[in-house]
Amino acid sequence: MVNATIHGDWPWQAGTGGPRDGAAHPSRIAVMLTPLTVALAVAALALAAWCGHAAYRDQPTKDWHFIGMGVVTALALVQLVVGTVQLARGEEPADGTVVFVSYLVGILCCMPATGMLSLGERTRWGSLSVVAGAVVLAVLQVRLYDIWEGNGV
């Protein structure tokens, strides 16, 4: 807390200190993005394993799976907000803003889209659809990190 204040790492101080170097003084928000990315990837993979288990046991997605999808979607929403705040503060993803934002939006849509599909397919194949969505979400997290850091392909 104290350190952050000394270094001027608060959002409302952004405009006061002249041009800011995001790399040398990563902001609080920027520091949040990577752990959030890791958390989302782990949560998505856990959800994939869980729904994969349901598919293995020949079961459709149940209420608890949907709660899990809700949790992952909530995390994705937080990520979208955090990412947008970072952009609003003038920090730029290495691979471009448009790509970064479309990834954030795509990530947010993963679980709702496959969740809806699994509602229309009350078999193990609906559960597998959610697995596919969750795995894609995890892969997108890795790509999102690359897009932000610029070590992507």
């Binding site: 046991r57 020949d58 079961q59 459709p60 471009g96 448009v98 790509v99 479309s102 795509g106 889209a113 496959t114 599909l117 229309g120 397919e121 009350r122 078999t123 193990r124 194949w125 609906g126 597998l128 659809s129 596919a132 969505g133 894609v136 392909v153």
Partner: protein, 157 residues
Amino acid sequence: MSERLKRTGGEGTGDGGAGGAGAGGGRPGIGTGPGKLLVTLYGIFTVGAASRSIVQLTTRYEEAPLAYVLSAVAALVYAFITVALVRGGEGARKAALVCCAAELLGVLTVGTWTLADPSAFPDATVWSDYGMGYLFIPLALPVTGLLWLRGAARKRT
């Protein structure tokens, strides 16, 4: 043409299914059961390939025109198959079958092309190196699609 295509065989869509399997009414179920997973995967690849090619074509077309146009073509093929699977029906099944074959041909051609003449592709496409960058899913999808659509035809008779 009113033959019902309800999958009764397949891999155990029986018990856990809560009776929703045949929800398509009289429509052939190429988009239900295992078909639903195909719809999901094709949908994901449609969105992925389409958004990728839109960004690339609009921002840096000159860099690798061939690769980007091929990505756009791939996106169109994926989109068409997704729609055909969702709509169902014998016509859609045949159209999807043709598209899956075209897709397989595309993956094999572009895959071989990228290996034989990498200089033609300064940037990657979805189908580069047989879809290696996408865990070979672009190669596996059309094969699975063809098998599934053929299987749907067999069950009909």
